[in-house]
Symmetry: C2
Subunit: 413 residues, 2 copies
């Protein structure tokens, strides 16, 4: 393992790697931790040519840059290696010639979160845990349940009782023990922390666990490698609790530190207008104030984000920007993405594209620059909102004359 220490982002103190997964233990601090590596050692042992010769297409191709022991146990699901498409037709439509789409919805359980959960499960196996746990109704939970199932770890998932049945389906099919708490998400989260502490389970609650960002960062590695180790100008990603944005930043930062990438791309964080606490705090230059969660993009509907510091640092240090987009923009971008690229994103997945369009409209970004949009989750995760995005059919009675008329009216002749 090439991890040298866990650095506190608040007080700067270093903690030994392998310390219990948590926030900074210095008295009165509680800051978020960041995993640091022996970059010189890694650069001496691995290089980009060696990577190019490796035919394995999962995140484990980057194992020397992950917080796992060489040759240690790893879950078998094919996480990572998702396609990066040059979006020629979308480019033409938007007047952005050099636009790319990373479809992370093609991960095994349908979202980018598989990257974090695969690392979590690998760590849990290494440490001899038999149970992994988190509080979530969304992609964090389903990715944890799926990766745990693939190796026979028990997963315990805490959800608020209001979570719709469909959201629990993946969890239950993966054999997770789902604890449905008749209360708020905060209450479910609180009880998960109690149970995790009491039973010594592996804690996959994001932000508190500094290793999850390490899994997520692999998406940045893949983008950089697919683009021939040339940084794009912009990378757009939707933002809920801030961990994914933090992961993308960390990935590019690692590559710059290794000398594998010339520079950090500018990161564009995208929140939904109805739930934009990080956007609002950054814009006002004030501490974060929790907000309501009024957006259909449930994967980024986080009114009290747990990782705003890492997210805001990612924007600042990459000279990036945050934007907020309306739900209507998000639905429009689902359809735009689908009909021009054949990629179906969930609302939070298409929000990155909505944000990029907004950044051009506002003059934040130059349309001649190279931009990458991360589609963070599969549209099949949310058929209800996909249906809102998708328009309607042409209805005809079963006869040839009606067919002819309808096709002519629709311009299909």
């Amino acid at each position: 393992m090439n991890v040298t220490n866990l650095a506190c982002l608040k007080c700067g103190r270093w903690h030994a790697p392998g310390a219990p997964v948590s926030v900074c233990a210095a008295p009165g601090c509680g800051g978020l931790l960041e995993v640091e590596y022996d970059y010189a050692g890694i650069a001496g042992a691995v290089d980009r040519d060696a990577l190019a010769a490796d035919s394995a297409q999962t995140i484990w191709r980057y194992a020397p840059l992950l917080p796992v022991t060489a040759g240690g146990p790893r879950p078998p699901l094919a996480v990572g290696g998702t396609p990066l498409y040059r979006a020629t037709r979308l480019s033409t439509e938007l007047g952005i010639p050099d636009l790319w789409i990373k479809d992370d919805g093609l991960n095994p359980t349908g979202s980018l979160k598989d990257r974090a959960s695969a690392v979590a499960v690998a760590q849990a196996l290494e440490a001899g845990h038999t149970t992994v746990a988190c509080a979530s109704t969304g992609n964090a939970a389903s990715s944890l349940a799926g990766n745990a199932a693939s190796v026979g770890l028990r997963s315990v998932i805490f959800v608020p009782a209001r979570a719709p049945a469909g959201k629990l389906t993946q969890l239950l099919v993966f054999g997770a023990h789902v604890v449905s708490v008749e209360g708020s998400y905060a209450e479910a989260f609180g009880l998960s922390e109690v149970a995790i502490a009491e039973h010594g389970w592996y804690n996959r609650n994001a932000a508190i666990n500094p290793y999850l960002v390490e899994g997520k960062k692999t998406v940045a590695y893949e983008v950089a490698e697919a683009l021939g180790w040339k940084a794009p100008d912009w990378v757009a990603v939707s933002v809920g609790d801030g961990c994914t944005l933090a992961g993308v930043y960390k990935g590019f930062k690692d590559l710059v530190q290794l000398g594998w990438l010339d520079r950090m791309p500018r990161l564009l964080g995208v929140q939904a207008e109805g739930c934009a606490p990080i956007y609002t705090a950054l814009k006002a230059g004030r501490p974060l104030v929790p907000t309501a969660e009024n957006t259909l993009a449930d994967s980024i509907a986080v009114g009290s984000p747990r990782n705003p510091d890492k997210a805001m640092r990612a924007i600042r240090e990459s000279h990036g920007a945050m934007v907020a987009v309306s739900d209507a923009d998000i639905l429009d971008s689902i359809r735009l993405l689908g009909r021009t690229t054949g990629v179906f994103g969930e609302p939070a997945g298409a929000a990155g594209l909505a944000g990029l369009r907004q950044a051009y409209r506002c003059g934040l970004a130059n349309p001649k620059e190279r931009a990458v949009v991360l589609v963070t989750g599969n549209g099949l995760k949310d058929i209800v909102n996909g249906t809102k995005a998708g328009g309607g059919p042409i209805r005809i009675p079963p006869d040839r004359e009606a067919l002819r008329r309808a096709l002519a009216e629709a311009g299909l002749d």
Copy 2:
């Protein structure tokens, strides 16, 4: 293009490649056509080592064995290259030591049908078509719409009006023109044939188009290559209209003809008890009789299959078998697959596993043999039935004492 001819499976007549996509044109015949290649020429030009050195992981790595012109236009979606997992935990549970799962639900639009639609779209582009069309509410349609969208071809999809809105979502997001016919599936199919003939659109109605099987066969190539070009003993796949089974057979047959594979695996075709016309015909040794469509596995709910001849030949010539499984078995296999492998299959996707279990129960297959199950579609395509498969959560009020009791009762301590 290495295609030499289209051979009629009924009268044996040869047709020139590039002939209009259809059944045998010999007077009074109308038999299904099969695409044949210059295998000696291919074996002289390509070998397995060259394939191993090719880092491209999509179906196009097998382009010399596909009915497309070298260097011709191809849709960009990353079709194929899906993972083949050794299912260690499932093996232990079932007492089948050498069991593998091919997760074809990780194709871009979520099913194995992407393989056929990608070939269809490549052919349509080569031939200068601007519109592709089919009648379907399922995976054939969504894969066609997605692949067409990726290159800007127009897609026209005919569906019966009873198709649930959720099934149309992917189509509409991909910008397909969906023609909803107030009538039966047969009427929608009939009108699609009228419109296709009238407007000269590319016809992606399976069975009638002999090239679709050619796309599907790539799943067999991938299995063989991943297993080091050693044929497994059994390959289990669910069967609706028979085209997928026919494709799997064709793939292995190609490899045997090329000398790349020592033998043909035995194919296990799996139908649902409530809709098993091919199973019934094969068992009785009688011509096929259309049946009702009483199964929740909608992707194989085909009472009047259009490709029974190719499917039955695949079973016969591979010395394979057909089985029929209950819907309860299918739901049980969804959960079994999920909790032991982390793979979530749609009902037709998990039916292959249900069929394999049945084959062992009946003594058709020997549990010591190597078996591969093809999971043909992603479980996210059918959350409703996934929910039926998945069991329920543990419900608790938001307090610590209740938590403790519930975890103890569930054995989670």
